[in-house]
Symmetry: C2
Subunit: 157 residues, 2 copies
């Protein structure tokens, strides 16, 4: 957190979430994004809908939600398999929208694997409202070490 | 075009393309984006891959390409039907990547319609290399007037 955040914004990040350290490229452009581990192998990623995520109706843009889906679903390959990955296919069903100021969360789980190609079922939600359900196909590339979440567990001692 | 573009960047926009006037929200955040009409009802949208579109490998991020796909495919509903639209489902197959500096183009065509819900088949490419093929389901909302492309044709007299 830095001095350019208001007190309100500082308090707007739920417990357990940490800011992702994406300081370049597209990850920075659409950030800030956050991540949380549950200590049992599960994870969620999240962002709060800001002006620069919105369409003209002050809802999170579909492109932003799909970008987030890619990052939230594909991350299952990093967390469960400790691999970096590239997206082969992504399919998203838009069930509802996310308004300016809302806290959007998402996660994924691997449901099939073949030749280092993983099928991930994912979900994105705001509170108890599902925004997107979808499926991603991700190809594992080089090994990711340490596995995301491991460091978080260690640092909690 | 403005003074903050270099001579090289100014020349980097192919003939017939005009800058989209998206000066707020997500459209601005991932821009600049461009559009061209062929005068016969067809259109393409485009962008040049810049640093803020990239992943760590200096390729256009999958999220950026899907955001662009949403804007390039869904636009068929505006151009062909003169309606604004929201995305119901988007499915993208990633066949290849787009590197920093490359000019990415995309378009879509309506292949089915039912109750103001349109199925659009789309394609995204760099020169003669296809990057993404995909299908979008878009729901028409209020009427968009004038129809995009009409103004462009008129201004060419």
């Amino acid at each position: 957190m830095s001095d350019d955040l208001t007190e309100e914004q500082r308090h707007a990040v739920p417990d357990g979430y940490r800011l992702l350290d994406w300081f370049q490229g597209f990850g920075r452009q659409i950030g800030p994004l956050y991540e949380r581990f549950d200590g049992q192998g599960g994870y969620t990623r999240a962002f709060r809908v800001a002006e620069h995520h919105c369409n003209g109706m002050k809802n999170a843009h579909g492109g932003m939600l799909m970008s987030f889906a890619d990052m939230a679903f594909g991350h299952a390959v990093s967390v469960e398999k400790s691999h970096w990955w590239v997206t082969v296919r992504l399919m998203c069903d838009f069930l509802s929208g996310a308004k300016l100021g809302e806290w959007v969360e998402g996660t994924g789980e691997i449901i099939a694997e073949e030749d280092h190609v993983y099928t991930v079922r994912g979900r994105i939600w705001v509170a108890d409202r599902t925004i997107i359900t979808g499926t991603g196909i991700f190809k594992a590339i080089e090994k990711r070490d340490p596995r995301p979440g491991e460091l978080a567990f260690q640092s909690r001692g």
